[in-house]
Subunit: 139 residues, 2 copies
DNA sequence: TTAAACTGTATCAAAAGAGGTTACAAAAAG
DNA sequence: CTTTTTGTAACCTCTTTTGATACAGTTTAA
C-alpha cells in the first residue's frame, strides 16, 4: 500500500502557511513546494479546516491561512484532524469463535490500541507548530 | 485492505503457543484458530523465530513452541520483531529543494517518528505475554 | 456583467502494500 | 521410502493512497 503520509505533508503545509502570515496562500503554490498535485493539498486543507486549524477562502484572491497562531497549534490537533489509521490493525478476518482465545482477543487488542493512541497523542501534544518552525530554521 | 495486522495476529498466535506449553503446535492448527492460511502463520512465525521468541522444528512431528516463558516475553519485543510500518510515512515524493522549508522538513519528521516509536515501545514494554493471557482468561 | 482566478469535490487511473493461495524443496520421524 | 511438516518463492487479488482531470460554485475586478 502507499503508506499514509498525510501527517508529514500537513506539517509541511502548515509551516508554509505560518511563513505566509496573514496572506492567503494558494494550493498551487503549496503543491509546488511539497511537490505534489494541488488537489492533494486541497483535500488535506479541507480536513484541517474542519478542525479549525486553517481557514480557506474561495474565489479569486482566495487561498488559505492559519486559523490561529503557530504557538497555539499543537501537533496532536493536527494528528487528530487527519484520517490516519491505527498503529496496528485488528485481525483481517474474525478469529474462529470456537477458539476461546480468539473470543476475547479483539477486546484486549482494541484496548491496547487505544492506550497506544493515547501515548502518541501525548507525545505530539508536547510540540506546537512554533516549535517545529524553530527547529527547522535552526537546522 | 486492512493495514498491517501482524501484531494483532502475533499476539493471538503466541497466546495459543503458551496454551500448548512445551508441545509443538502446527501452523495448520494455529491457522484454523486465527482463521487464515497456514502460510500466513508460518511467515509470521519466521519473524518471531528470528527474534528468538519462538522455536520451530521442521519435519514430521514438527511445529512451533515458545522459546521462553510467557512472563519473559514483552509485547515490545514482539512489536520490534515484526515489519510493522511507521506511524506516519514521510513525503511520498521528495519536497522541492528550492523551498527552504522542504529542505529541513524530512530531518525533523524523521526525528519525530523515532520519538513516537519510542513512546509506543515504552508502552508495549509494560506488558508481557503472561499479562495478556491473564486478561483474556479473566474476561 | 463578464472574465479570470480560486477552492471544493467527484471520479478515475496508477502504484504499492498486505493477505491469501498454490506449489514445491528440504528436513525429520517412523 | 513414505509421510508429515516447516520454509519460501511466486503469483493473484483486494484495498488504500496518491496523482490527475474535470468541472461547479464563489469571489474579485475590470
Amino acid at each position: 500500500m502507499a503508506a499514509n503520509s498525510q501527517f508529514a505533508v500537513a506539517i509541511h503545509v502548515l509551516t508554509i502557511l505560518a511563513k505566509g502570515g496573514d496572506e492567503r496562500v494558494k494550493s498551487d503554490y503549496i503543491a509546488g513546494s511539497v511537490n505534489t498535485n494541488p488537489v492533494v493539498i486541497r483535500r488535506l486543507l479541507s480536513n484541517l479546516q474542519e478542525a479549525h486549524i486553517v481557514v480557506s477562502q474561495v474565489g479569486a484572491a482566495g487561498g488559505t491561512s492559519l486559523a490561529k497562531q503557530p504557538k497555539d497549534i499543537r501537533l496532536s490537533e493536527v494528528y487528530k484532524a487527519l484520517p490516519c489509521g491505527e498503529v496496528f490493525a485488528l485481525h483481517p478476518k474474525e478469529p474462529n469463535q470456537d477458539c476461546p482465545i480468539g473470543k476475547n482477543m479483539a477486546a484486549f487488542l482494541c484496548g491496547l490500541q487505544k492506550e497506544i493512541d493515547k501515548s502518541i497523542e501525548e507525545k505530539l501534544n508536547q510540540y506546537t507548530l512554533r516549535d517545529v518552525i524553530e527547529r527547522i530554521e535552526s537546522a
